[in-house]
Amino acid sequence: MSKDNDKNKDDEATDINENTDANDTVEKIGVYICHCGGNISDHVDVEKVAESVKNIPGVTKVHTNSFMCSDPGQELIEKDIKSGSINRVVVASCAPSLHESTFRGAIKRADMNPFLYDHANIREQVSWVHDGEPATAKASILVKSSIEKARGLKALDVLKVDAKKHVLIVGGGIAGMRSGLDLAKQGFEVAILEKSPFLGGQASKLSRLAPSYEYAKDLIVELYTQLSKQNKVTFYTCAEMSSFKGYIGNFDVTLTREPSDAVKSKSKGEFVENRGIFIDNIPKETEEIAITIGAVVMATGFKTYEPAEDEFGFNKLEPVTTLEQFIQDYKKAETKKGILYLNNKKIKRIAFIHCVGSRQIPGIHEPDKNGNLNEYCSRTCCSSTLQAAERIKTTCPNTDVFDFYRDIRTYGRFQEDIYDSASEKGVMFFRFEPDAQPEVTENKNGKFPISIKTKDVLTFNEEIEVDVDLVVLVTGIIPNDISSMINMMKLPVGTDKFLQEVHPKLRPVEVANTGILLAGTCQAPMDITESCAAAQAASVKATALLYKGFVELDPFVAQVDTELCKGHGECLKVCPVDNTIEIDKVAKVNPALCTGCGICTAVCPENAIDVMGWSLKQYEKMVDAILAA
């Protein structure tokens, strides 16, 4: 038999209680159980789960399908709704965060209220953590309890709240400027919040960029020129966020601006080397500014890793510097007889050591004083190092350049060309293993002040020693310290200390708190191209959120039964979100602020407050179902 016929077995429907009363007040529950390819069905006997729920009163349809989220899967639900066979939906598949909106969409298309649906997670909570008989048993219990919850579901309407067409961009680096420009072009009001008196961020310190050899300064000036033509952009420089409240569409933010004694002699819009575009509105005294905005784009960027004391001789041996410092010094470099002179010092031989402060491995590298290791690759440093090496060999062919690396990561478009060119021009490469890092020591008697020892993998672990005038540590990228904003805004942070997106592929520029978007290196190391792409992706999300002038929120919020409420105010005492509950004889809930956490439900002595879609009664039924099993 052809394999194709096996697929016949999928999508098998069990029709039960076919002659149920057509009366819509009777619950007719459709249960849809997903194989998730094999993600679920390799560990859970999906047919057995289906079997175990098909005789539960009120269950009128049970389907299994290889991918419920696929079109054929969704069509099963639509068909059953349209034929009048069901008026409640239970889907048992992956975590609801992945596909809740997919299934709500299918239900809506069939003209049913999308909130008459409940979701059992039998992948993350079952098949990925259990196996065999217990897995099947647990899946069955979760589906049963979901069926009981579904019985108590009521049709709900999404909450519509007005949204300000005003976006706050936090950080005036390249990503922040890029996003600000996009949103200003959309006709939104844009506020750019920047700590320093300058726009341009870290890129201002760079010179020619890999791999296009464009000057960073030109890009910053270009973005600023375009930005300054937009009339709805306000630059809040010398500012930090001092408070943050509210919800998507209506965030109330206070900014505090402090006087700064930075460059007074500069004029507005002038590019200051290594610092950026000067914005000439430094406050005379501390100012507080309150603004209300619809969405926030986080573009707080990065700083470079600062090597530990004596890490490869840093801060101990004078001729040891960082890539960041080298790039700045190189802007003023001179050449004599094909030899490089930096800060008037002759550099006949120079060495770069890659991955300093990046790609650290537990057990091999020393954690910093807070116990952190930077396990990630900083992504941009290989290309910028090779470009620096290539530039030196091009302008100063008589300076010898040595490159100590672990892997060369010139992954991006035209980056490999730099690597090729550097090799052709005579940059000498040595490869080291992470557990045998190069040793940098003072060379007291030799011609050169520094000596580097390593075991070179390229020559099959030969011990080599190279004497040089200058060592450049290729230091990685670490996120800027924004802990006060992380606390104020309750931003999620990953183990790598960068801000954490919801899902790298499904929602790559959004954080779990709706209305807050990510742009550039506050999320992960990126180069300018990648930061600008991410910034524009954040802009498009902000546009889609706000362009209609209102946003739609889930209706799972607390609701007060005004008949029962006696106005004790117990709910007000425990509610974790300020200003959500107000007592005016009875309790009143601001649905836009309520997060639906349900703490109030637990403390109300009158049982007068409940969360819509997740009522206490529903929970009781769910618990009963679990205990009965």
């Binding site: 054929p72 992945l98 959309q186 892997d407 600008c532």
Partner: protein, 429 residues
């Protein structure tokens, strides 16, 4: 057909892979009307054909189907599959796409996707959706979560026996269907035509595709996928469970002799991912990756690589010199053995995977004046601060069409293209 149908949209997106879908969704969500032109019978591109995706190891279907279905059901998005793009022109603020829709040999309005034609078709041919490792019918739906769920008849192989026409419950089959020409006029275009793999039979030293049990990375993706050709990890020649599997990195990339001097950017990570998946399904197998540099640069990628090392996957720093057939249908690899001072050594593996590189799928020559760069991918005019702008005003690009990229970077760039196109329409129209 002379009176060609003309349709109007705000944006025409060329290519319905993940880049095209995300661009269309982000434009549709801003209220623009979008047409997606796809040459295949289904949208989804390469991503829907993968097994699981790095670095999260989510199953590719679970992540792609919601995007496919979101685009398919979006009020502002219209899909056109089986379409050949004949010309794409830009003149005075107007993009014109001239398109031929190839026949499915059935009436798409009547087809209900029941697959009766497929079940009853007597002709078996190699299934390209399964890397040619198994068979499909001449009347078929590409795969179970294809969108749209419409069958098609592969006329090259159809024997015209008439069985499908007999069994189709809606009388949809039409053996005489003709290609249909139509025109789309739009304000902007986004090129998201994606990629192809470098040919497996290019390199003489690697046996030019003639050695048994040397497969491509995309074939390995299918072997590892939930509904793969064998439903488990076996080697093709004899169905044996392989005890040792090797991956050859940069097979087709970073190689000037092949005209692909660039790095393909995803192959290191997909090879590590495939090893991780193999170590799940074949816990006892020896897994080896032969590489020059491991390029694990994205968020969470280095940690993924270090986990793979900790799991016991062997990483050998070496460029493979040649591949030949070994004993018992195994594959022999010649390489410089580092631990033996660089001596040429030979090692045999039951199955070898070529981590092939990436080349552009679409060549605009003769169809559109959009500029290509020296690497043959679409040129980006302002690669740093506006990475999706092309040589033609009002035409944008995203995803692998403008250079190799993983899914995460493709999706971000697609949002960027939607932003640029949206702003362009707001300001220049």
């Amino acid at each position: 057909m002379n009176s060609r149908k003309k349709l109007n949209f705000d944006t025409v997106v060329i290519g319905g892979g993940i880049a095209g879908l995300q661009t269309a969704i982000d434009l549709g969500d801003q209220g623009f009307k979008v047409a997606i032109i796809e040459k295949d019978a289904t949208i989804g591109g390469t991503m829907i054909r993968l097994s699981k995706v790095f670095p999260t190891l989510d199953c590719a279907s679970c992540i792609t189907t919601p995007k496919m279905s979101e685009a398919a059901h979006h009020d502002n998005i219209t899909l056109f599959t089986m379409c050949t793009l004949n010309a794409l022109d830009k003149e005075s603020n107007k993009v014109t796409a001239s398109i031929t829709q190839q026949p499915r040999y059935l009436d798409p309005d009547k087809c209900i996707g029941c697959r009766q034609c497929e079940y009853n078709c007597p002709v078996y041919v190699l299934d390209e959706e399964q890397g040619d490792l198994t068979l499909r019918k001449a009347a078929y739906i590409p795969f179970s979560n294809a969108i749209p769920q419409l069958a098609l008849i592969d006329v090259e192989n159809c024997s015209l026996c008439g069985k499908c026409a007999k069994v189709c419950p809606t009388d949809a089959i039409d053996y005489f269907q003709e290609p249909e020409d139509f025109i789309i006029e739009a304000r902007t275009a986004v090129v998201t035509t994606g990629f192809n793999m470098t040919p497996a039979d290019q390199k003489k030293e690697y046996g030019q595709g003639k050695i048994e049990n040397v497969i491509t990375a995309l074939q390995m993706e299918r072997i590892l996928a939930p509904h793969g050709p064998y439903m488990r990890a076996l080697r093709p020649s004899d169905g044996k469970e392989p005890e040792s599997i090797a991956f050859i990195q940069c097979a087709g990339s970073r190689d000037k002799s092949l005209g692909v001097s660039y790095c393909s950017r995803v192959c290191c990570m997909y090879a590590i991912k495939q090893c991780m998946l193999l170590s799940g399904s074949l816990p006892l197998a020896d897994l080896t990756i032969y590489y020059m540099d491991i390029r694990a640069f994205g968020k969470g990628y280095e940690q993924f690589y270090q986990n793979a090392k900790a799991m016991g996957i062997e990483f050998v720093k070496s460029k493979i010199a040649s591949i030949s057939q070994g004993a018992d249908q195994s594959v022999a690899l010649k390489y410089e053995a580092q631990e033996e001072g660089g001596k040429l050594a030979t090692r045999e593996h039951d199955l070898v995977v070529l981590s092939l590189g990436i080349v552009p799928e679409w060549d605009p020559t003769g169809i559109c004046d959009i500029a290509k760069d020296t690497d043959q991918f679409i040129q980006c005019k302002m690669p740093k601060i506006a990475p999706t702008i092309t040589s033609i005003e009002g035409m944008f690009t995203a995803g692998v069409a403008s250079g190799p990229k993983d899914i995460v970077d493709t999706i971000a760039e697609s949002g960027a293209a939607a932003m640029e196109a949206g702003n362009y329409m707001k300001h220049y129209h």
